[in-house]
């Protein structure tokens, strides 16, 4: 996963959460609410998960841990 | 006993036989019931033989077409046929009733597509079916074409061809 991919995932995570935020602030009809929840909750959890994963991977201690495991070989 | 039966069912070769057997059992059971037709849905015309006799009596030529003649004069807009339809339509009793949505669209866009409407599936070809149901014709031919597609693909791409 390159840098571009991470940026793309961040953008997608924000874009897919926008309908949920809209639904919270506006009073939408029921059908629209259901559609938003069913479609966007899984997708946004997926992309938020990808962003979280990238963050966890970029942490310094993660790098250190990797080094140790590789020298361990 | 049950175990042996299930072992048989687990073998694909046996499945059609057992399936057919189950259908036979149900059909045999159903033969013992009394069958009743819904009289009200029979075609609202005299029986074919009676029609012919009536025709002889009245010297009406159109009655020679006995069961297929549904009354009315051809190409006469004021003289509708006598039909008993399942679904309501303003064009009921006409030869062009029960067009599919696509045919209706064709009818509405132009004056010059008469034959096309008549000839394509879902047009009036299915008039023969008495129940005059447009989509059925399309579906039946679709099933047929799907079968033809599969068969031709299998034949064209068969392995070990010379």
């Amino acid at each position: 996963m390159g840098k571009e991919n991470e940026i793309k995932n961040k953008i997608l995570a924000i874009v897919t959460s926008i309908p949920l935020l809209l639904g919270i602030f506006l009073n939408l009809p029921l059908a629209v609410t259901i559609a938003i929840l069913v479609v966007f909750v899984p997708i946004s959890t997926y992309y938020v998960g990808l962003v979280l994963m990238a963050r966890a991977k970029n942490k310094e201690d993660e790098e250190k841990r990797k080094k140790i495991t590789f020298t361990g070989y | 006993m049950i175990g042996r039966l299930f072992n048989k069912l687990a073998n694909p070769d046996q499945v059609p036989k057992i399936f057919a057997f189950v259908i036979i059992v149900v059909l045999l059971f159903s033969l013992t019931l009394s069958f009743e037709l819904n009289q009200n849905q029979l075609y609202p015309k005299p029986a074919p033989q009676v029609q012919i006799e009536l025709a002889k009596k009245n010297i009406d030529i159109s009655y020679n077409l006995a069961p297929y003649n549904r009354g009315g004069l051809p190409l006469d807009p004021n003289n509708k046929g006598i039909v008993k339809s399942q679904y309501y339509t303003p064009y009921e009793g006409w030869i062009t009733a029960y067009l599919t949505p696509f045919s209706e669209w064709l009818r509405d866009i132009s004056y010059h597509l008469g034959t096309t409407i008549v000839a394509h599936p879902g047009g009036i070809l299915d008039e023969i079916l008495y129940y005059t149901r447009g989509l059925d014709t399309i579906l039946e031919s679709t099933i047929l074409f799907a079968a033809f597609t599969i068969a031709s693909w299998v034949i064209l791409n068969r392995t070990g061809k010379k």
Binding site: L37, A56 | F6
Partner: protein, 290 residues
């Protein structure tokens, strides 16, 4: 039945999150009880939830052999379908048939998850998913027999019927048993859990890790919660109405499930189909007798 025109999204979202957390705790409890029966200390009850969150920060790598949009999309479909079930069931009190559909799609998703990765282990799991679906679909259709008793399949209507005529559990015990077997087959480590049995590594889940596994576990938690909710509503709807009572009942059923899971071995695939099919026939007999 009356569908309100405006329904707050926050309310529904909170309900889904509650279902997720409570379902996760229930599955944790399930593991704990099983461990205690087998004489082990067992993980803490929050372990299952922590497990799900842990996968969110683990690296995701998609196998080179997988069939691509399907690999991700089908896991998301599994989540989406149970969110739909949770909206239709507890909030709207809608048709039970929609939950049958959700269950069907869940089985399709299991099959697809197994196929999409291209690994032979997941392939085995997905083959078993098809095998179990052939028996579980009739089983979930059995509560449709409740229709002959109550003349309605709307969950609201079923609750109303039970408030007037007493709980359905006493009237249709064998149908309740069939539904219970269905819930049992969706519990981890169950005798009918042939799709994720440890004899085929992890069944259809073998190749899924990282974020995707987290999303998948979320879907499974929601599924467990939704099925438990359906079971309680359809057969004890008149007695249990308050949310707290629901929680107590769910905990009780989870403990029973844990006892069954801990004490029974996993049956062979074809035998699982056979046993479940027998339960379905028993339920039909029960309905015919009344």
């Amino acid at each position: 039945m009356y569908y309100p025109v405006n329904f707050n999204l926050i309310y529904i979202l909170l309900e889904i999150i509650t279902a997720f957390i409570f379902g996760g705790l229930l599955l944790g409890l399930h593991r704990k009880v099983m461990a205690r029966i087998q004489g082990r200390p067992g993980p803490p009850i929050v372990q299952h939830l922590l497990h799900t969150f842990k996968f969110y920060i683990k690296e995701l790598s998609i196998p080179n052999t997988s069939s691509m949009p399907l690999y991700v999309a089908i896991v998301l479909a599994m989540d989406a379908v149970w969110i739909l079930a949770l909206i239709v069931g507890p909030i709207l009190g809608g048709s039970f048939l929609i939950i049958i559909m959700c269950y069907a799609v869940h089985k399709v998703a299991e099959h697809g998850i197994g196929l999409a990765s291209g690994s032979p282990y997941t392939k085995l799991g997905s083959t078993r998913a098809v095998l179990s679906a052939t028996a579980e679909m009739p089983l979930i259709a059995v509560p449709a027999l409740v229709f002959f008793k109550t003349d309605t399949l709307l969950l609201d209507g079923i609750i109303n019927y039970q408030i007037v005529n007493g709980s359905l559990f006493t009237q249709l015990p064998l149908v309740a048993l069939a539904m219970f077997v269905l819930v049992l087959s969706k519990t981890p480590y169950s005798p009918f859990g042939i799709v994720w049995g440890k004899d085929i590594v992890s069944g259809y889940k073998t190749e899924h890790f990282g974020v995707i596994r987290g999303v998948m576990m979320m879907g499974e938690i929601l599924a467990f919660f939704a099925l438990l909710w359906c079971f309680i509503t359809i057969f004890f709807g008149g007695i249990i109405t308050a949310p707290l009572a629901y929680m107590v009942a769910m905990t009780g059923i989870t403990v029973i499930l844990a006892f069954i899971c801990a004490l029974t071995p996993m049956v062979a695939p074809y035998h699982a189909v056979m046993i479940q099919w027998i339960f379905a026939i028993l339920a039909v007999v029960n309905v015919l007798l009344i």
